[in-house]
């Protein structure tokens, strides 16, 4: 009885088109926001912030990026890792060329580079579709990875071949580098991720988002209705790569602190893909859920399994984690193939009719 539409009348289309038309949803979101902005900062340990929350948010952003392309525009991509890398390397270059630039500006600007590269590799999508398109994005993945190794200019000719993030300040507060407080970094990542999510949700609900979904659901019909495949697909590639680029930059600047090219390897692409699919293609909330599932669950298992009193070796924990995660992926897909977001939605639908079994 708690979760009901009844009695909530919308009198304007604005209200009807709001992100969270239901009061209960709005309350839920407010609670989550309070948790994220107040409770976590007040209570969390450094480990929780650096190893759980910050990467979770970064991955959520990357998953949203991929979701734009794969979930909303229907173009399968396996090149996310490389696009994240482009963001990271361009942010790195930007900071070394403009050492005094505001770091947030640099981050947001770096996304444009990955967007440009994304568009270039998106061009073949006009002809190549479905799984076959995966090859284009794989080509991007491996070619870019090779560039990260082979173009020393990208990493300022470091002997180590890696990019290392030095200390930067913003308004007198250290935001990057080892001296930055995990809390500061968490806040920046949280704001950027939430802000960009809001932008994306706007896009999705408007004309551009609808064009993406049209192309996804039936590209021929979309074209017959007047969607230009070129603009629709490339804009999806651009927005997606932009988000991934920013996520990649944040990953290095606010989380890892240094990165070798192998940090942007294909395994990263897959990691993000898992999050996107498992969370639910075509759902922003799903991206958060997917990121939480794929990132937090293994960490939690690693922490929890030994503390349950199982005295198991570190690698056994790893084996178990891998098996449990794999089994859970399959389990969730079987329970609800359309991802955690859909599972959540169905639960809500059930709640609406509760205590009756069906509506």
């Amino acid at each position: 009885m708690l979760y009901r539409e009844a009695g909530q009348f919308k009198t304007t289309y604005e209200a009807d088109q709001a992100i969270f038309p239901l009061r209960q949803d709005r309350i839920g979101i407010a609670v989550i926001a309070a948790l994220a902005f107040v409770v976590v900062p007040l209570t969390a340990t450094d480990f929780f912030l650096t190893s759980i929350m910050t990467p979770f948010l970064i991955f959520a952003l990357a998953a949203i990026g991929l979701n734009v392309l794969t979930g909303y525009a229907g173009q399968l991509s396996l090149g996310t890792g490389a696009f994240m890398g482009v963001g990271a390397y361009s942010a790195y270059k930007l900071t070394s060329i403009f050492p005094d630039a505001n770091i947030i500006v640099v981050l947001l600007a770096s996304g444009f580079f990955s967007a440009a590269i994304g568009v270039a590799f998106g061009l073949p999508s006009l002809r190549i579709k479905g799984l076959y398109l995966a090859v284009t994005t794989l080509a991007a993945q491996f070619f870019l990875e090779w560039c990260f190794i082979r173009i020393p200019w990208l990493y300022n000719y470091n002997a180590s071949g890696a990019i290392e993030i030095s200390q930067r300040e913003m308004a007198g507060i250290v935001v990057t580098g080892p001296a930055a407080a995990p809390l500061t970094q968490y806040f920046i990542v949280l704001c950027v991720t939430v802000g960009l999510t809001w932008f994306v949700s706007n896009l999705i609900r408007g004309r551009i988002g609808r064009q993406w979904m049209m192309i996804r659901d039936m590209d021929i019909a979309a074209e017959l209705i007047g969607v230009r495949p070129l603009t629709a697909k490339l804009s999806a590639f651009a927005v997606s790569s932009y988000l991934c680029g920013v996520a990649g930059a944040m990953m290095v600047f606010f989380w890892l602190g240094a990165a070798e090219p192998s940090a942007f390897a294909i395994s990263l692409s897959f990691q993000v893909l898992f999050m996107t699919i498992l969370g639910g293609l075509g759902s922003l909330i799903g991206s958060y859920m997917g990121a939480a599932f794929i990132w937090i669950l293994p960490v939690a298992l690693r922490v929890v399994l030994p503390s349950l009193g199982f005295d198991v070796a570190a690698e056994t924990v790893q084996h178990l984690t891998s098996m449990i995660v794999g089994a859970l992926i399959i389990f969730f897909l079987i329970t609800e193939p359309h991802g955690l977001a859909r599972l959540w939605q169905l639960t809500k639908e059930k709640l609406k009719v509760w205590p009756f079994p069906y509506g």
Partner: protein, 271 residues
Amino acid sequence: MNVHVDTAAPAPTRSKGEVLLKIDNVSLYFGGVKAITNISFDIMKGEIRAIIGPNGAGKTSMLNVINGFYHPQVGTITWRGEVRRKMKPFEAASQGIARTFQNVALFKGMTTLDNIMSGRTLAMRRNFLWQLIRFGPALEEEIAHRRRVEEIIDFLEIEHIRKTPVGRLPYGLQKRVELGRALAMEPELLLLDEPMAGMNLEEKEDMSRFIVDVNEQFGTTIALIEHDMGVVMDLSDRVVVLDYGKKIADGAPDEVKSNQDVIDAYLGVAH
């Protein structure tokens, strides 16, 4: 019940006589398959033009030619007095040609509302940045179009499924949503490919009413493919009959109905 759709312009009267679309000597082949051979006919402004013929006669292919999905190997198409060359489908759409599909081609992952909104794509102007913040002009535009779409939803009596993903709808409603999507484009020429397949009588009557209303109220020209002879004979102004890719008859419903070739090839028994 009277559905009232307000349009800015008063309902234009049928101004027949002006040729909107002219097909000249068109032929279309797929490898060895001759889908269309040497067909000519025209569609006048404001009329309901039916295309009928046995299965595989080339009716759907004809529509595909008209809206640029197929490009005929031979022949010309004149649209509003201009000869069209290799027009892309989205260009046809932007010039006012809308259609529905024989095998429902809705956007399965989207709700009814979004599907119909998608018909408004071409009419929406606000650029990327406005879309991004979805505020001011962008929101106003969205709301304005939403209002138009709600009118169509009202008109088609599908209010109750506004927020349902179309994949879950029964077939008949899907067809109706598809019509709604085409209407949302406010087309000059509306191509309907078997809009009533899979409907029962009651629903066919409703659908007929919608089609006639669209034609009368908005002055939309309609090309209609349908296998229900009752519907075709009642609604259309002129009928063109295809068989094996060739035109075998063209004229008023009554003429066509009694044409022996048509009876042999298509109707079976005189209706």
